[in-house]
C-alpha cells in the first residue's frame, strides 16, 4: 500500500455524480474519520521529526541559540566514530534482514504443509511474536556469552578449557549477538506474514504448474515465490527499518566502541555537555534519511527484478 502495490478495495456501488452539498458532507465526514490518526502523525510524528531537524541545525532556544547552521553535520562527518557506527549499523541491518528473510521463507514452507503436530509447531512460531526484543537479548546473552549456557556445554564436552576459549559472540566486533537476536525475532515476524500470504494464495497455482510439468523447485521459483514476493518485500522492509533504528538490543549486546548509530545518538543526547545536542539530533536525522533512501532503492530494485 505504502509503495503503491496493488490493493483490492471494495468499490462502493455505482458512484453517480452527487449533489454538491452531499459531496461536502462526505468530505467533512472523511476529515472527521481520518482526523485523530492524522493528528498523531502530523503533530507528534512529523512535528517531532521537524523539531529534530531544527535542533540538528542548531536551533536551541532553551539555551539561547536560534541561529541556523550546518555545524553539527560538519563536525559529525569529520568524526571517524560516526563512520564506524554507520558501517556497523548497515552491517547489522543487512545481515539480520537477509538471514531472517531466508529462514522465514524456509520455515513458512515447512509449516504450510499438513503434518501431525503442525498446530503446535505453528503456535511455537507465533509464540515468539509478542516476546520483547529486550527479553530476546537477555536470552541470547545467557546463551551465547563466554560464560553462558553454550560455553558451559562446550566445557562439558571438553571442547574448551576456560571461558576465554569460547568464541566471543556477544559484545563482539561483528555484532554477532545483536544479529542473532534480530534474526531470532524477525524470522518469526516475517514468517508469520509470509505464511499468511501463502495460505491466502493457496496451492492451486502450484498444482496447475505441476500438471504442466513443473518440478518442486520450478514450482517454488516460478510460481510460489513471485506470488508471495509482495509479502516478503513488505515484511523484510519493516525488519530492515526496525533493525537500523532500534536501540536497546545493541545497547545491551553491543561493544561500547564502535556502537550502533542509535546508541551513538543517545550517548550524544545524554551527554552533560549540551553542545552535543545538535549532533545527537543530526545522527538521528541521518538515520531517518538513510532508512528512507535505502528502502526506496530496495523497492525500486526489487520491482525491476520482478518485471
Amino acid at each position: 500500500m505504502l509503495f503503491g502495490q496493488d490493493i483490492q478495495v471494495a468499490k462502493l456501488p455505482a458512484n453517480k455524480p452527487k449533489p454538491q452539498s452531499h459531496r461536502w458532507r462526505e468530505r467533512f465526514q472523511l476529515i472527521l474519520m481520518l482526523g485523530p490518526a492524522l493528528s498523531v502523525i502530523i503533530f507528534l510524528f512529523l512535528g517531532g521529526l521537524g523539531l529534530a531537524v531544527m535542533q540538528s541545525l542548531g536551533y536551541l532556544p532553551f539555551i539561547g541559540q536560534t541561529e541556523l547552521s550546518l555545524d553539527a553535520y560538519r563536525s559529525l562527518l569529520s568524526r571517524g566514530e560516526f563512520y564506524r557506527s554507520l558501517l556497523l549499523s548497515l552491517w547489522i541491518s543487512f545481515v539480520s534482514t537477509g538471514g531472517a528473510t531466508v529462514l522465514a521463507v524456509g520455515a513458512a514452507l515447512v509449516l504450510r504443509q499438513p503434518f501431525r503436530g503442525r498446530r503446535w509447531a505453528t503456535f511455537v512460531f507465533q509464540l515468539n511474536l509478542p516476546i520483547p526484543h529486550l527479553v530476546g537479548a537477555v536470552g541470547i546473552l545467557f546463551l551465547f556469552s563466554q560464560s553462558g549456557f553454550l560455553a558451559r556445554l562446550a566445557y562439558l564436552g571438553q571442547l574448551i578449557d576456560n571461558p576465554g576459549d569460547f568464541p566471543a559472540l556477544v559484545f563482539d566486533r561483528y555484532a554477532i549477538g545483536i544479529i542473532l537476536e534480530y534474526v531470532w525475532k524477525s524470522t518469526c515476524f516475517i514468517g508469520i506474514i509470509v505464511l499468511a500470504v501463502m495460505q491466502s494464495v493457496g496451492e492451486d497455482y502450484e498444482q496447475a504448474a505441476q500438471t504442466l510439468g513443473a518440478n518442486r523447485w520450478q514450482r517454488f521459483r516460478y510460481v510460489l515465490l513471485p506470488l508471495i514476493m509482495p509479502g516478503i518485500l513488505s515484511a523484510s522492509i519493516l525488519v530492515f527499518a526496525f533493525t537500523f533504528g532500534a536501540f536497546e538490543v545493541p545497547l545491551l549486546l553491543g561493544q561500547r566502541y564502535p556502537s550502533a548509530l542509535p546508541v551513538l545518538a543517545y550517548r550524544y543526547y545524554t551527554d552533560v555537555d549540551l553542545n552535543f545536542r545538535p549532533e545527537a539530533m543530526a545522527v538521528s536525522v541521518v538515520i531517518s534519511v538513510l532508512v528512507t533512501v535505502l528502502i526506496g532503492v530496495y523497492v525500486r530494485l526489487s520491482r525491476r527484478l520482478g518485471d
Binding site: D204, A208, A209, Q210, T211, N215, P226
Partner: protein, 356 residues
C-alpha cells in the same frame, strides 16, 4: 492416444469414515471425451485429481494404455489439468502462461515463442501475448488456460468444470472450441461437471457418480432413455414416477394397466417412468395406456407449456400427479380445471427398479 483405466479406485480422506471415491472402475476410451458427472461432493473432482496425481489413491489402480501410473509423480504423468477458475498465473503475461509448460521442460526461447503463437492462433486469441490475465475477459482467460494445457501435448487432458464459469453465450463458443481441439488432436479428454447439460453437450461418455459411487456409465442418450435407477432419472430431469407391478409386458399401476416394451427388468415391483415431453395430452384415437385427469396448474414457457395433471387412481391408491410438456399453443386449449385425456406411448415408457 491413450486409454485410461480406473480399477477399483478408492480414496478415503484421513479422518473421514466414508470414502470420497469408492471402488470406481471405468474404462475411458482413447481419443474420446468422458464426463465425470455428479452433484457437488460426489467425489468427481477427487477422481480427477487422482488421475492427475495431485491426490494419492487409498486403493486401486490407474492405467494408461495398460501401464500403471500410480507411482509416477504429477509432473511426469503428461496429464494436464485445466482448472475451473482457470488459474492463470497472475504475475505472468499471456504468452508466459502459455509457454510455461515448455519452459519447465527446458525448451529454448525461440521454440517456445513459435509454439506459443501457434497455440494462441489455435484458440483464436492471436496478438494478446503481452496482456496480463486480469486484462482478459472470462472467455479469453478460459481459452488461454486451454492453450497452456494443450501446448505440452499431453496424453490426457483433464478439465475441471470447463464451462460453468462462463456466460450462456460464451458456453456455446467454448464448447465448440473444446470439441474442435479435441477432434484435431484426438486427445483423450476427461472433465468433471455438476451440470448434466454441460455433460450431455460435450461428452461422448458420461459417468454419473453419487456419494463416490458410480451409478451409470454410457453415452448421453442412455441417461434420458434408459436410466438405470430412479435417482439417475431424476438427475436428468425425470419427474414422473409411478409405482407398479410388472407381469410380462403389462404393468399394474394406479393409472390402470400400462403396456410397455421395456424388458430390462424381471417381473415384480417396479417404478414406471416417462419423461414429461413424451406424454401426449388430449389426443384421441388410442385405446391402451390412456388416463383421464384434471389440469391442476399450467405454466407458459415461451417455446412450450408445462401442465400438472392429477389422475384419480383406482383401487384406493392416492391420486397421482403427472407432469406433461406440450406445444406452447396448447396452453389455451387446456385451462386449469379442465379434464384431459393423457396418452403414455408404450415405446416411451421405461422401468426402473422399485426402491425399498
Amino acid at each position: 492416444m491413450t486409454q485410461v483405466d480406473l480399477q477399483k479406485l478408492t480414496k478415503i480422506y484421513p479422518g473421514s469414515d466414508s470414502p470420497a471415491v469408492h471402488a470406481l472402475s471405468l474404462t475411458m476410451p482413447s481419443g474420446r471425451i468422458t464426463a465425470l458427472l455428479g452433484p457437488s461432493g460426489c467425489g468427481k473432482t477427487t477422481a480427477l485429481k487422482m488421475i492427475a496425481g495431485l491426490i494419492t489413491p487409498s486403493e486401486g489402480n490407474i492405467l494408461f494404455d495398460g501401464d500403471s501410473i500410480v507411482g509416477v509423480p504429477t509432473e511426469k504423468r503428461e496429464v494436464v489439468m485445466a482448472f475451473q477458475n482457470h488459474l492463470l498465473f497472475p504475475h505472468m503475461s499471456v504468452s508466459q502462461n502459455v509457454g510455461f509448460g515448455l519452459k519447465m521442460r527446458g525448451l529454448d526461447r525461440h521454440t517456445i515463442q513459435r509454439r506459443v503463437s501457434e497455440m494462441l492462433d489455435l484458440v483464436r486469441l492471436p496478438g494478446l501475448d503481452d496482456r496480463r490475465p486480469h486484462q482478459l475477459s472470462g472467455g479469453q482467460q478460459q481459452r488461454v488456460a486451454l492453450a497452456r494445457a494443450l501446448i505440452v501435448e499431453p496424453r490426457v487432458l483433464l478439465l475441471d468444470e470447463p464451462l460453468s464459469n462462463l456466460d450462456a453465450h460464451l458456453r456455446g463458443e467454448m464448447r465448440e472450441l473444446i470439441h474442435d481441439v479435441q477432434q484435431q488432436f484426438k486427445l483423450t479428454t476427461i472433465f468433471v461437471t455438476h451440470d448434466q447439460e454441460e455433460a450431455v453437450v460435450l461428452a461422448d461418455q458420461i459417468a454419473l457418480l453419487f456419494e463416490g459411487q458410480l451409478h451409470q456409465y454410457g453415452p448421453p442418450q442412455a441417461f434420458y432413455e434408459r436410466p438405470l435407477n430412479e435417482r439417475v432419472a431424476r438427475f436428468f430431469g425425470g419427474i414422473n414416477f409411478i409405482p407398479g407391478y410388472k407381469r410380462g409386458s403389462v404393468i399394474e399401476t394406479g393409472l390402470g394397466q400400462l403396456q410397455c416394451y421395456s424388458a430390462a427388468l424381471s417381473d415384480g415391483a417396479v417404478v414406471v417412468t416417462i419423461r414429461p415431453e413424451n406424454v401426449a395430452i388430449g389426443r384421441n384415437g388410442s385405446e391402451i395406456n390412456v388416463a383421464h385427469g384434471r389440469v391442476e396448474s399450467s405454466t407458459y414457457l415461451g417455446t412450450h407449456a408445462r401442465f400438472k395433471v392429477s389422475v384419480q387412481a383406482g383401487n384406493g391408491h392416492p391420486p397421482l400427479v403427472l407432469e406433461v410438456v406440450a406445444d406452447a399453443s396448447s396452453i389455451h386449449l387446456y385451462p386449469v380445471g379442465q379434464t384431459v385425456k393423457l396418452y403414455l406411448p408404450p415405446e416411451k415408457i421405461w422401468l426402473v427398479p422399485a426402491e425399498d
